[in-house]
């Protein structure tokens, strides 16, 4: 008995040592040839464009902080992480990173000291970034931004969760090897679609929010090979990440290429607007700066994704609600609340007004199976951010101060069942 126990312990120790060794075993990465002139203005400018496309600033610049100096708190299940300083400071930032160090961090999730990065860094997506783009990004981070002498803030993650080596296991088991993830444009018939796929899957890392994740936290798919790719569903800061596939009711099925381009450029289109700060910031810091060609490419690629299976929502316009409201016949509590709170802008026909007040009839946020965004919108409100293409910070007020839980439920039930919703 004692012997058995001892051999079990020995086995466990051996397994642990093997696993531990596997975790620590160095990952081989390719060596890249640095560009001849790293400070070349055109190269640095291209790197800036790509950094915008990758929205690096979203995590690496704190609110009111210096650009790329890190320090933004990022909530995670194991504790609060703080983004790092990625300015070219030699003491606090990545000023001592070689091109290959940079490549390992970006595509493999390995810091210069060998630590594996937390999943907050979307390296499984960035693994698709081409060698040329990687070099341009490196040039930008070395020569395009000012070094900031700001120390990194330690993560608030308690031991033993703070140990980094288990992250290496995750990386080795669940993240794609960059050699395999390498982007192959030949898979797409249209070069514009291929460009869109490259941006969406790679630097855009759209799937980080818009693709549901497995219990082991990897995205269900990293490209169109999986039917759950960009199918929406995760809650991001309390808002529902929307379905970007061609589902008619809850996805982009009814959206034109132009609708998508306009939304990425300005946070809104004539019929819809971005909800929540998370996507608002993506537009603000990233997509508004992309070229028309790249935004069109992104839109074209998204439009190639077929509807995800299992959608239950449908919309078929029905004039009955508008007729009933206009003639004063609709006297349910929900309808009364709608007239008192919503109809001033969204009108009794639920169609709102193009460019200003989104239609409720056929609205994907209203039709979504998961009503979290709609509930939050009605209670808390939302406001667009102004930008160069659309400076007006249009918004909707929250109604939590005047609706009881029951009122809100009745109102939302009315909205979700009217005008053909």
């Amino acid at each position: 008995m004692k012997k058995l126990l001892l051999s079990l312990v020995c086995l466990a120790v051996l397994v642990f040592i093997a696993v531990f060794a596997y975790a620590l075993w160095p990952t081989h990465t390719a060596a890249l040839q640095p560009p001849a002139d790293l400070a070349d203005a055109a190269l640095v400018a291209r790197g800036k464009y790509l950094a915008d496309a990758g929205d690096c600033t979203a995590c690496h610049t704190a609110n009111d902080g210096k650009p790329f100096a890190g320090g933004l708190p990022i909530a995670s299940p194991i504790g609060t992480l703080y983004s790092t300083n990625i300015t070219p400071s030699k003491t606090q930032g990545i000023g001592n990173y070689s091109l290959n160090d940079f490549e390992r961090a970006l595509r493999h999730g390995i810091a210069a000291n060998g630590d594996s990065l937390y999943l907050a860094m979307p390296y499984p997506s960035y693994a698709r970034v081409s060698d040329d783009d990687l070099k341009a990004l490196y040039a930008y981070f070395m020569h395009g931004i000012a070094p900031v002498e700001q120390a990194n803030r330690a993560n608030d993650v308690p031991w033993p969760l703070s140990m980094r080596w288990p992250l290496a296991l995750w990386r080795k088991w669940l993240a794609p090897a960059p050699e395999q993830a390498k982007f192959d444009a030949a898979r797409y018939s249209d070069p514009a679609v291929a460009r869109g796929a490259y941006l969406v899957q790679g630097l855009g890392h759209c799937g980080s929010c818009h693709t549901p994740r497995a219990p082991t936290l990897q995205e269900r798919a990293l490209d169109e090979s999986g039917a759950q790719y960009l199918a929406g569903g995760p809650h991001i800061d309390g808002w529902l990440a929307v379905n970007l596939r061609s589902n008619d009711a809850t996805g982009l099925g009814a959206w034109s290429i132009d609708d998508i381009v306009t939304t990425l450029r300005s946070g809104r289109n004539p019929h819809r607007a971005v909800l929540g700060e998370a996507m608002g910031n993506v537009v603000q810091h990233s997509t508004q700066y992309l070229s028309d060609a790249d935004l069109t490419a992104i839109a074209k690629y998204l439009k190639t994704l077929p509807a995800s299976p299992g959608e239950t929502s449908r919309f078929k316009a029905d004039p009955a609600t508008a007729q009933a409201l206009a003639s004063g016949q609709e006297n349910s509590r929900g309808a009364q609340l709608y007239l008192d709170n919503c109809a001033a802008c969204h009108r009794s026909n639920g169609l709102g007004n193009a460019h200003v007040f989104p239609a409720i009839a056929g609205n994907s946020t209203v039709l979504a199976g998961d009503p979290v965004s709609l509930i939050r919108l009605v209670l808390v409100g939302a406001k667009l951010q102004g930008n160069a293409a659309a400076p007006s910070p249009l918004g909707m007020p929250g109604f939590a101060w005047r609706l009881s839980d029951d009122d809100a439920a009745q109102l939302l039930t009315f909205i979700r069942q009217s005008w053909g919703n």
């Binding site: 008192d340 709170n341 001033a344 802008c345 007004n353 193009a354 460019h355 200003v356 007040f357 409100g381 406001k383 102004g386 930008n387 160069a388 293409a389 659309a390 400076p391 007006s392 910070p393 249009l394 918004g395 909707m396 007020p397 005047r402």
Partner: protein, 591 residues
């Protein structure tokens, strides 16, 4: 001076229409601009959010969006020998505060002055002789013409999404518009708003009498609209909460909805709210401003040095700051010398009330601040002043800005002020009555002026501005004439009862009764530095790097609402600063 801020290219005092226009234009020109606003920052969300903002008690009784008279106000008297007392409750006029200023709580009536309004004195002298103008009337020609301002009227209308119907485009008359207006270079950006029932009746009555009714130009968008700056406006939903309120719907043009979205994205623009400018600082010989002294949001006295100082506060407070700072010489009515405070004028507003039977559904709670219809047949050169016996004309309009129980219900004259009879009359009248208004010009006079009060001080220890103003025989005659014309016209509609409130001979200016916020003059533009504080570019004659933008520049007031003219003058001045002053700082007109 404990706290001296880094010098900037320009400071702007006040973030209403003129401040926002100047900030936009000067940041376009690459200048670094710091704007001071005494009140809070305000934006549609969250400050004017539906349905919180449509609260009559808060907006029209507690005056949430208006300036605090406990901090700053004016004192008022009727004659230069009387003792003025402070204006302690909002009555006759309603200056705003906070970002947007009066431009956020206006109604939206957006007129251009008539070409003849710009040359009032010479026009009247030419038509009726020099002696037709009363001795004490100090009216002057504007030093600019309608044609000078046409591009700026036009641009401001496009910024505001003004809804209307042109009457004359490039000299060609257009059906449905005002046939008497100055020629426009193009149509309004948006078509007119729909007519309410009272406006439809006005069209009928006016046409029967032979007048030429046209839609009031309204900066209440009749459709969704994107202005030249990219700002989005929404279509007006006739909620009836314009005057006294910020717009919940992005429909009423305001600095907040139409200009600030762009300014807020600009790095060269800094807005400091809750910052009270106390005075303009001058250099040792008083010829050049060095900046302003202000109290910051924490109440600390600070100095902001600047190359250019733009006074863009409400007209009265622009004059107040000039007097407090020694920018120009104060006006003395006895000698007629000095210019700052000279030619204060107002607006001659009157009302005709009509009560109809129960088959006339007025629905007075529906409203568009600037919507409705009006006539120019008794305004400008259409009116034979010689026959009428007074200088200046006016307009009659049907306008329903929206009413409600808290804002008051008009009842037929003879109704008791309380009790069951009042209740019945109020219930009947609220849904079945209309009022039309008569808005007359107001001339300027030697004895009507603005000065510093010798007794009363504001919360910051500065003497209050003192207003000396009363109704002159000329305006009383005009009121009676125009109200009678309106009553004659309304007879066509056969109301059950009807009453006008024309001013009575010998009557006095009543500061407790609202009569429009169109306070004008006090620092007027002119071509002679002896009789005007500002030159034709709204530049101080005395301190060349101070420009004073607002209705303070009107030598007298015409029959229209001033905002269209104020916006046009702001763009006119901004153009002069950009194209002339910045290239060669100094007086733009040699005295």
């Amino acid at each position: 001076m404990a706290n001296i801020q880094p010098k900037v290219d320009a400071v702007i005092v006040g973030m209403g229409w003129t401040g926002a226009i100047l900030a936009k234009e000067l940041t376009d020109a690459g200048l670094n601009v710091v704007a001071f606003e005494r009140g809070a920052d305000r934006d549609t969300q969250p400050d004017f959010a539906y349905p919180r903002v449509v609260d009559e008690l808060e907006g029209s009784v507690h005056r949430r969006y208006l300036q605090s008279l406990a901090q700053e106000t004016v004192t008022v008297r009727h004659t230069p020998t009387a003792t003025a007392v402070p204006y302690r409750q909002m009555g006759s006029f309603k200056p705003g505060t906070g970002v947007g200023g009066a431009g956020s709580h206006w109604s939206g009536c957006h007129f251009r002055a008539l070409p003849e309004d710009f040359k009032l004195r010479s026009n009247v002298e030419q038509r009726y002789g020099r002696n037709f103008i009363p001795q004490d009337m100090t009216i002057q020609d504007f030093p600019v013409s309608y044609d000078d301002l046409e591009p700026h009227f036009d641009h401001f209308e496009y910024v505001c999404g003004t809804s209307g119907k042109a009457g004359v485009i490039n000299g060609v008359k257009q059906p449905g518009g005002n046939p008497f207006e100055g020629s426009r270079s193009r149509e309004f950006p948006l078509g007119p708003n729909p007519s309410y029932l009272g406006a439809e009746m006005f069209y009928k009555a006016a046409r029967e009498v032979g007048y030429n009714p046209y839609p009031i130009p309204a900066s209440n968008a009749s459709a969704a609209y994107v202005n030249p700056y990219g700002c989005q406006m929404g279509p007006c939903n006739f909620c009836g909460f314009c005057s006294d309120y910020g717009c919940l719907n992005y429909s009423k043009a305001s600095p907040n909805a139409c200009i600030l979205p762009v300014l807020r994205l600009r790095k060269q623009f800094e807005l400091r709210t809750h910052s009270q400018v106390l005075k303009v600082n001058l250099d040792s010989d008083g010829k050049k401003a060095t900046g302003v002294t202000y109290l910051d949001a924490q109440g600390r006295e600070c100095e902001q040095p600047a190359e250019l100082v733009l006074l863009c506060a409400f007209s009265l407070y622009n004059v107040h700051l000039m007097l407090l700072s020694g920018v120009g010489k104060p006006y003395d009515p006895a000698s007629g010398e000095g210019t700052v405070g000279r030619n204060y004028s107002y607006q001659n507003l009157n009302r005709v009330m009509m009560f109809f039977g129960k088959d006339t559904q007025a629905n007075g709670f529906i409203g568009i601040g600037g919507g409705g219809t009006t006539i120019d047949d008794l305004n400008g050169n259409q009116l034979d002043n010689g026959k009428a016996g007074f200088v200046g004309g006016g307009i009659i309009w049907a306008r329903q800005p929206g009413s409600g129980p808290v804002r008051g219900v008009s009842v037929p004259s003879g109704t008791p002020n309380w009790g069951p009879q009042w209740k019945k009359a109020a219930a009947d009248a609220f849904r079945h009555s209309f009022y039309y208004e008569v808005q007359g010009a107001c001339m300027s006079y030697r004895q009507h002026y603005l000065s510093l009060d010798p007794t009363y001080r504001d919360a910051f220890g500065r003497p209050l501005l003192r207003m000396t103003f009363d109704w002159h025989d000329n305006e009383i005659k005009a009121s009676q004439f125009l109200v009678n014309k309106a009553l004659d016209m309304c007879k066509v509609l056969s109301p059950q009862s009807m009453a006008g409130d024309a001013k009575k001979a010998g009557g006095h200016y009543d500061i407790t009764k609202y009569q429009s916020t169109h306070t004008c003059g006090g620092a007027i533009m002119g071509s002679d530095p002896k009789t005007s504080a500002l030159n034709r570019y709204l530049q101080s004659w005395d301190v060349h790097n101070v420009f004073v933008i607002g209705a303070n520049a009107f030598p007298q007031n015409n029959g229209y609402n001033p905002t269209g003219m104020v916006g046009a003058l702001a763009y006119w001045a901004a153009t002069a600063i950009r194209e002339q002053y910045l290239k060669k700082p100094g007086p733009l007109v040699q005295a």
